[in-house]
Subunit: 212 residues, 2 copies
DNA sequence: GTCTATAATTGGATAGAC
DNA sequence: GTCTATCCAATTATAGAC
């Protein structure tokens, strides 16, 4: 922790620092991107939302892509400590619970943001090309899966992470308050985690319907 | 069926007819939109993909928005008969199953397309503004929910429809073949439908794990 | 950090010939 | 149905003054 920081490479997203001016750009951009998508959000729109000119925005970030990268880094950093906690956990099932609870927290408290970052075509391409993003997402999936790698386990994980981030935005739940939503999602995810998968745990079925 | 058709209003999406040239535009546009989103797809890209000029594309559709509307109509029409069958069904649970199976079919057989149309900001706005889309989607939700309207039921429906359309695109299941995916999704949706919801059916629990 | 001004390109859309 | 040619607005991005 004491050695001089390299300029180009931060090992953790949470260690990346931004100036106040940059953060203001990121806040304005995120809000617009959540509504219009990356391609549908222009620098002019961002500048207008901030009450400055385009040139002022370009002073903070050299390109539009850099803004998107900065936003993505910031969002992923919100899951970083949860992933690390999960990786450090000896008990695999408990590790998954830690991670899922945090993912639910994020999805509920930031309704809309998570799903945009997960489904916007530009960000998807960015995540595939930008190595730090790739590495982190792989860690996330690994922690979510644990040692299971079968078809069923992967589908459960895929459905869960999808359902969580998207369901919170669904018209059918638009009127449900955050607390109820969070509680119900945790309940549902526990149920799905505990579903018999027919090939994994010769372990105790003690947790079946424990959350119910 | 015999009376002269009104120009402006088709009652059913499946009754809308398109010329071969229009269909070629729609095919090219859908492919590009599925990858880049609506805002990220230009008329030039569509024309290039077809091997024609922009002007030729504009001959088939007056605006870019009309292309997006046509594509959306075509996709929704694929669920139209399933919604009607569900609405005609006396048995509510059976109705939901019919609809869900079709939604799973669509999501699996057209991996990627469904989720784009469901999450692209431009299409979301379009669906909110275009009345025929609104009406159909409301019918879809109604059939999916049946007579239940509680928090839990709505969240189940939201999670299911979300999870289905998104999970099929998830990196974790990228290598799973269509048939396995379909079978597993049907299994999962049955399980979720049959979960005890604590307030609905004083009905027979006969169907619990029937699909397993 | 912010501005004005502008370059260079691409976007959606139309006119008119074949 | 397709083309060339064009219009105009909006886009990303930069230069240089304050």
């Amino acid at each position: 922790m004491g050695y001089p920081r390299l300029v180009a490479a931060a090992e953790k997203f949470s260690e990346i620092t931004r100036t106040a001016a940059q953060t203001r750009v990121m806040d304005a951009a995120l809000k617009l991107i959540a509504e219009h998508g990356v391609s549908g959000t222009s620098l002019q729109m961002i500048a207008d939302a901030m009450g400055v000119t385009k040139a002022a925005v370009y002073r903070q970030f050299k390109t539009k892509e850099e803004i998107v990268i900065a936003i993505t880094e910031r969002e992923l950093s919100r899951l970083e400590d949860a992933v690390e906690a999960a990786e450090a956990q000896g008990h695999e099932l408990r590790a998954r619970e830690i991670l899922l609870d945090r993912m639910i927290d994020q999805a509920v408290s930031r309704r809309g943001v998570v799903s945009v970052l997960q489904f916007d075509p530009v960000i998807i391409r960015l995540q595939a090309e930008h190595e730090p993003f790739q590495r982190f997402i792989e860690r996330l999936y690994a922690a979510l899966l644990g040692t299971e790698a079968g078809v069923e386990a992967r589908l459960h994980a895929a459905m869960l992470s999808s359902a969580i981030s998207v369901a919170v935005m669904h018209p059918l739940v638009a009127d449900i308050d955050a607390e109820t939503l969070r509680a119900q999602l945790i309940l549902m995810s526990r149920r799905m985690l505990d579903l018999p998968s027919g090939h994994d745990s010769r372990g105790t079925p003690k947790r079946r319907s424990a959350a119910v």
